[in-house]
Amino acid sequence: MRITCPICGERDRREFYYKGHAVSLDRPAPDAGEEAWDNYVYLRENPAGETRDLWQHEGGCGAWIEVTRNTVTHEITATRLVSEAKS
C-alpha cells in the first residue's frame, strides 16, 4: 500500500503512522456529555468499504493526513491535510 502525502507525494506505507478513524478530528466540548465522548473515544462505524482515517507522515514531513480509503480493497481514493479537512 502506498499513500500520497499532500506535501511529499506518493510514499511507502511504512513511512506513515496510523491513528484511527477521522472521528478524532471532531473532539467534543469538555461538557458535551457521556454519549458524545463515548462516540468520540470508543464507538466506531467500522465500515467494510469506504472510510476516512488519520495517518501521520512520521517518516517524512510529519504532516497529519486524512485518508479516504477502502477497508476491503485497501484502495486509496483521496488524501488531504488535516488542516484542510478541519477548515
Binding site: M1, G20, H21, E35, N46, A48
Partner: protein, 417 residues
C-alpha cells in the same frame, strides 16, 4: 456414532465404510427458542453448552459460509491462561480448565497438546514484570515457572541468546499452555451440538434482525425469515455489520492479523515461544510446519490478507530470534479479521434490546477462549445472569469508564492492544 480406538481398528479392517457425516444438514425451521448468529468456534461452543448444561435444544446456529471456514480456522491455535487483570484472569483460567477436559467431553480428538508456552524477556525490568505476571497466574490457580538463562538454554538451545539488540535473559514458562487443532475444535463442538438436537444452518447469511417495541423477534436470512425468542450475535470479525442490523454502533475497529506457515519439517520446536520485543511467536504443528505470526498490520481492514511490510517485519524478527529457521521455505500466509476493542478485552453481555445478546471484541485472542466463551455466554443466554467467571465483560464499561480491562495500559486506541 462414538469414536474409540476399537472403532478406528474396526473401520480400518473393513474399508472405512462405516463412517457417517459428523452433523446433519437440516432445513431451517420457522421458529427456534434461540438463534445464534455465527457458526464459528464461539457460536458452536455456545450452542453446545446451551444444550449440554442448560437442556436447551430448540436452537439454530446460522453460518453464512461453512463450519470451520472463518476465524476459527485462520488462527495460530495457541491456548494459554496467563492474563494478569481481574476479569480476564478468572475467565481464561476457566477456559483452560474446559480445554483440559474437552476431548473426553466431546468424544472428539482436537489434538490438544499442552506443550507449554515460553514468553521471553530481555532485561532486568522485563524479568520483574514476568515474575509479577507469573505470581498472578499462580494466585489464580494456574502454573508458571520463571526460567533463567541457563535453564532456558537447556530447553531452547536454538535461540540466539546473545542477540545484540535483545539478549535473552530468560523466560516465563506456562507448562499447561499449548495448542490444539483448530478445525477439529470447530468440528467437535458442531458435532456435539448437532447430536443434542441443535440445527446447524450453513450458507445461511443473516440480512436483518427483527425488533419490535424494543424486543427481538427473529432474523431475516438468505434462507428465509426465522422467528426466535432470543438472538445471540457471535460474529467476531463482522461484529460491527451485524450489530448495525440492530441499530447498534460498537466500540470495535476491525484489523487484519497475518499468520505464516512453512513446509513440513522434522520436530524442531517443542513448545510455543513468544518474542514480544520482536512481535513474533512460533510453534510447530503436528504436521511439521512452523506456524508463526506477528502483530497487526495496524490499519483498519476487512481484507483477509495482509500487507508485505508486516510480512517482512515478522520474518526479520524470526531470523533475529532463531536463525536456524532461515533455511525453511515459507509455504503460505493468510490474514484474519480481528475485532479490536478499546481496552483489548472482549464483550459478553446483554444489549439494550430485550432478548438480543452480544459476544464480540476478542482482539487477537479468541481461539483459546472458545470453550470458556461458549460456556459463559450460554449461561448468560439461558439464565440472564453473568457467569461467575465473566462478570466484567460489560458493553457499557467504555461509556461509563467503570471496569476497563486494559492488560497493558495502552489506552483507548483500538489497534494498540
Amino acid at each position: 456414532m462414538r469414536f474409540s480406538g476399537l472403532r478406528v481398528l474396526k473401520e480400518g479392517l473393513t474399508g472405512n465404510k462405516g463412517w457417517k457425516p459428523h452433523w446433519r444438514d437440516p432445513e431451517p425451521k420457522a421458529e427456534y427458542d434461540i438463534v445464534i448468529i455465527g457458526g464459528g468456534g464461539h457460536g458452536l461452543a455456545t450452542a453446545y453448552y446451551l444444550a449440554k448444561e442448560h437442556g436447551l435444544t430448540n436452537i439454530a446456529v446460522l453460518e453464512k459460509g461453512y463450519i470451520g471456514g472463518g476465524n476459527v480456522g485462520r488462527n495460530t491455535t495457541i491456548i494459554r491462561a496467563n492474563y494478569f487483570l481481574q476479569g480476564n484472569s478468572e475467565f481464561y483460567s476457566h477456559s483452560l480448565k474446559l480445554w483440559e477436559g474437552l476431548e473426553e467431553d466431546l468424544n472428539y480428538n482436537v489434538m490438544h497438546s499442552q506443550r507449554g508456552i515460553i514468553n521471553l524477556f530481555h532485561s532486568d525490568g522485563q524479568r520483574d514484570a514476568r515474575a509479577r505476571q507469573g505470581n498472578m497466574m499462580l494466585s489464580q490457580g494456574d502454573d508458571a515457572i520463571l526460567l533463567g538463562r541457563d535453564e532456558l538454554r537447556g530447553m531452547l538451545p536454538y535461540l540466539d541468546f546473545d542477540n545484540g539488540r535483545f539478549p535473552i535473559y530468560g523466560g516465563l514458562y506456562h507448562p499447561r499452555g499449548g495448542t490444539a487443532r483448530h478445525d477439529a475444535v470447530a468440528w467437535g463442538f458442531a458435532r456435539g451440538a448437532d447430536q443434542r438436537g441443535v440445527d446447524l444452518l450453513q450458507n445461511c447469511e443473516v440480512t436483518g434482525i427483527d425488533i419490535e417495541s424494543g424486543k427481538v423477534k427473529g432474523v431475516q436470512t438468505s434462507r428465509g425469515p426465522i422467528r426466535a425468542k432470543k438472538v445471540a450475535m457471535v460474529v467476531a470479525g463482522r461484529s460491527s455489520q451485524v450489530a448495525a442490523m440492530a441499530g447498534m454502533t460498537l466500540p470495535i475497529e476491525s484489523h487484519v492479523l497475518q499468520a505464516f506457515v512453512t513446509e513440513g519439517l522434522k520436530p524442531v520446536i517443542d513448545n510455543v515461544v513468544t518474542f514480544g520485543m520482536g512481535h513474533f511467536y512460533i510453534s510447530q504443528s503436528d504436521k511439521g510446519g512452523l506456524v508463526f505470526g506477528g502483530d497487526l498490520d495496524y490499519y483498519a481492514s476487512y481484507a483477509a490478507r495482509g500487507n508485505l511490510p508486516t510480512a517482512e517485519h515478522v520474518m526479520e524478527a524470526g531470523m533475529a530470534l532463531m536463525p536456524m529457521i532461515g533455511k525453511a521455505k515459507m509455504l503460505r500466509s493468510w490474514g484474519g479479521i480481528m475485532d479490536m476493542s478499546p481496552d483489548g478485552s472482549p464483550i459478553i453481555d446483554r444489549t439494550h434490546i430485550d432478548g438480543l445478546y452480544l459476544n464480540c471484541g476478542w482482539n487477537y485472542g479468541g481461539f483459546k477462549a472458545v470453550p470458556g466463551s461458549g460456556n459463559v455466554f450460554a449461561h448468560l443466554i439461558a439464565t440472564d445472569r453473568y457467569h461467575e467467571n465473566a462478570t466484567r465483560y460489560q458493553l457499557d464499561r467504555f461509556r461509563t469508564g467503570r471496569g476497563i480491562i486494559d492488560e497493558e495500559s495502552k489506552g483507548s486506541q483500538h489497534n494498540l492492544h
